[in-house]
Amino acid sequence: MKAYFYAKARQIERHREWMIRTFGVGLGVATTRPIVGMFFAFRRMTPHEFFGIAFWLGFTITFIAAEAWIDYTRYQDIRTARITEQAPEHVAV
């Protein structure tokens, strides 16, 4: 919802970040599948015991990955902006 409102307000950078977060959470459901598969393979716990853990792990992993990507791209943007600012000085020297 926040992503949608930011798009309406034409705050595209914020919109992009919230869409990445939303999609990160959306992909969490796919991440839980291999985790559930691993729990099934090791058979140390019953499905009733590991389902909650697998869901929290799956959603949290992709959520953290999305946050990391947002942070990384923000840093790249700042670095590019700095390089562009410094470039004319280097050319002059």
């Binding site: 949608y4 959306g26 796919a30 929290w56 992709t62 990507w69 790249q76």
Partner: protein
């Protein structure tokens, strides 16, 4: 936004891999709900899970079909080429994705309370998952 090509490729690979897993899960669940005698698990934990979803078949479909739509359409929203060429479609799809995300969230919340197969040993933890995310 400037990102190294390798990082971007790696991310796209991971996203497509997860989208394929998600759509495969939706397909398998749909088949198990429509033709339980062919696609449901016969014994063990898988059979218990399938039976749990079968008891709430309508609710499960309300949850997983928008989920499949969300997973298959959302990656296009992030493709710069698609966004630049089809801005109107990008906006229309965005509205559709918001609607499907709301349906997914609300149905997940209802499912977590209605479906007993979902980890009865730790209900508070699992039940607050949709609320948290």
């Amino acid at each position: 936004m400037s990102v190294p090509k390798r990082a971007s490729r790696l991310l796209w690979f991971a996203v497509i891999f997860l989208v394929v897993i998600g759509i495969a899960a939706v397909t398998r669940r749909s088949l198990a709900l429509v033709w339980p005698h062919c696609f449901s698990g016969n014994a063990g934990a898988a059979a218990g899970l399938d039976a749990g979803f079968a008891r709430q078949a309508a609710l499960t479909f309300v949850h997983i079909l928008p989920g499949a739509l969300f997973l298959s359409l959302a990656p296009f929203q992030f493709a710069p080429g698609f966004r630049q060429r089809h801005l109107r479609l990008h906006r229309a799809m965005g509205t559709g994705l918001v609607i499907s995300a709301v349906i997914i969230g609300v149905s997940a919340l209802i499912m977590s309370f209605k479906m007993t197969s979902a980890a009865p040993t730790r209900p508070p933890l699992l039940r607050c998952t949709p609320l948290f995310f």
